[in-house]
Amino acid sequence: METAVEQIPLENFLFVSAILFSLGVYGVLSRRNAVQILMSVELMLNAVAVNFVAFAVYTDGELFRGMIFGIFVIIIAAAEVGLALGIILRVFRNRPGTAGNVDEVAELKW
């Protein structure tokens, strides 16, 4: 009976995480809404976590440093969301009538 690690090559995980990461980058570049941009960044961070865990299982079997890294990535991402939502809320409260799109916030230029 083969274990999952023997059946599924590392490349599959890297492939999934690359797709996730690319979707995140595409989202950051194409979305107008500040909260949606933030969600896309979260997607990128999840890709990072997948990568770390996959590498930890396949290449670093004893120390699990990648797993620990993954946990820290998740924690820091949560902190980042809290902070970012606070700032975004403040921005759009100071601009009544806007819909939360980043291109409505353009007082600083060049």
């Binding site: 990461f21 995140g24 950051v28 500040a34 941009i37 933030l38 960044v41 990128m44 961070l45 890709a47 990072v48 990568n51 770390f52 590498f55 290449t59 670093d60 004893e62 120390l63 440093r65 990648g66 620990i68 890294f69 820290f72 990535v73 820091i76 902190a79 980042e80 902070l83 970012a84 700032i87 975004i88 403040r90 921005v91 100071n94 601009r95 980043v102 916030v105 353009a106 007082e107 600083l108 060049w110």
Partner: protein
């Protein structure tokens, strides 16, 4: 499993002091509402002075904490460096915070916390620690940049900085994950050991990793293709935070880059050297050229600081012990000069509300001391002889040229010439243009004694580095040597 972890908590005492100080400031702010207005900056400054003195006890230590943070002369140098920068920023903020910002307690304690992040960025010898330290500094700065929460420009700057910063750290992390995958470790020394044996089989992964790390860290230090947040964050942020951004956040980025690239990524130098050379060249050229058309003094200094990042990246590109020493020297000179310039601008802004270059007309009549200090600082930034900027740039360019990047050094000299133009436009406004009509009634600005003292000390520092650099040069030499001995 490694049973021999060195958990000697005494190595981290300066950071404990800073952490407690940050906590104490908030508690004092809460418990004693009567004293808080004017006493807080001085309590903070006192605590920072204690931390500075304690840091000096670690000279010549060569140890590490659990393989995560190395406490050596390099760390001690940056501990003193960052604590000193925060000290100056806190003193320069005192009046500004009182008149412009609410919640001074959190302001000062976030400054202190971000100092801890900066110190750990210099001390980290492991990627996870380096990343957490980087985020500690960045998160504090996101809040501080948007600290004037009722002001639309400050909010906007904070939001842009925050969103782009989060994007950049995601890129950095994805890069780190590939380096981890290729080398099987997150510790700098083990990564170097793994790469020594060659990178066959994962060349492509390593290359992706290196590219993304350069992009992510390039964002943090504001190198050109990743610089778009810089002018906005500088312009929107409260003035003392702009000063702090231009000093600590840059120096910390370079402290991390220097230790990472000399410690972990040296064996794969051929894979990243050309990237950094290209980034450095565009950064110098573009930063200095765009600065020419700026009308706001904060934006002008933002682009000037981008240009300066180009010079410093040169030092990472041609990485060697003597270039690192020159880089540390240039960084010290640049930070002293920049703090002098910004302290003078803060004092002038407190008195006049000025932010545009044209508001500085006739400054030599309205505030002669500040105009003189700003002139010295701007000449030094442009690299005129006598001042710090000339000497440190000269040594940096020379050592870079000696290490095979003559074209980069030559480009740096041309970029410095360009920069002289826009620095001179500010000086022209101050000395040649007549002061506005209101000058007749108002007379000279009154500058608080503490600001006068601060700008004079910083100006003396600029002259000291420019005229008698030998002690500082010996210091940076011995500090840089630490990176290359292990």
């Amino acid at each position: 499993m490694r049973p021999d972890l060195n958990l000697d908590y005494a190595l981290l005492v300066p950071e404990y002091i800073l952490g407690l100080l940050a906590l104490a400031i908030i508690v004092i702010d809460l418990m004693m509402p009567k004293i808080r207005k004017d006493a807080l900056p001085f309590i903070t400054a006192g605590g920072l002075a204690v931390a500075f003195a304690v840091s000096l006890l670690y000279i010549d230590t060569d140890d590490n904490f659990a393989g995560l943070l190395s406490i050596d002369d390099y760390t001690t140098f940056f501990r003193c460096f960052f604590i000193a920068v925060t000290f100056v920023t806190v003193l320069a903020s005192a009046q500004y915070v009182q008149t412009h910002l609410r919640h001074p307690g959190e302001y000062y304690s976030l400054l202190v916390i971000s100092t801890v992040g900066a110190i750990y960025m210099a001390a980290a010898q492991e990627l996870l620690t380096a990343y957490i330290a980087l985020e500690l500094l960045s998160f504090s700065l996101y809040v501080l940049v948007s600290y004037a929460k009722m002001e639309r420009r400050s909010n906007e700057a904070g939001m842009k900085y925050m969103l782009l910063g989060a994007f950049a750290s995601a890129l950095l992390l994805y890069g780190i994950s590939f380096i981890y995958g290729a080398s099987g470790s997150t510790s700098y020394a083990e990564i170097a050991a793994a790469f020594e044996g060659g990178t066959e089989g994962f060349t492509f992964g390593t290359l992706i990793g290196l590219t993304l790390i350069v992009a992510g860290l390039g964002f943090k230090v504001a190198a050109v293709p990743f610089h778009m947040w810089t002018p906005d964050a500088y312009e929107g942020a409260p003035l003392p935070i702009t000063a702090y951004l231009s000093a600590t956040s840059k120096a910390a980025g370079f402290a991390l880059l220097l230790r990472l690239f000399s410690g972990a990524l040296m064996p794969v130098i051929d894979d990243w050297q050309f990237m950094l050379a290209a980034v450095s060249a565009i950064t110098m050229a573009l930063g200095n050229l765009i600065a020419i058309q700026q009308r706001n003094i904060k934006r002008l200094l933002a682009y000037s600081s981008i240009g300066q990042v180009g010079y410093m990246l040169m030092g990472i590109t041609a990485l060697s012990p003597e270039v690192s020493s020159a880089l540390l020297l240039h960084m010290t000179g640049y930070v002293i000069t920049n703090m002098a310039a910004f302290t003078a601008i803060i004092a002038y802004h407190n008195a006049s509300g000025a932010e545009d270059v044209s508001d500085f007309r006739g400054a030599s009549d309205r505030a002669p001391l500040l105009a003189a200090v700003l002139t010295v600082a701007l000449f030094s930034l442009a690299g005129m002889p006598l001042f710090a900027g000339f000497l440190t740039k000269f040594i940096l360019f020379q050592s870079v040229a000696d290490n095979g990047y003559f074209w980069l050094a030559a480009l740096g000299v041309v970029a410095s010439l360009v920069s002289l133009y826009y620095y001179l436009t500010v000086i022209k406004e101050m000395y040649v243009s007549a002061p506005p009509d209101s000058f007749q009634q108002e007379g000279r600005f009154r500058i608080p004694l503490i600001m006068q003292g601060a700008v004079i000390v910083l100006t003396l520092g600029v002259f000291f580095v420019g005229l008698y650099p030998a002690p500082l040069f010996e210091l940076t030499d011995s500090v840089a040597a630490v990176l290359f001995t292990s």
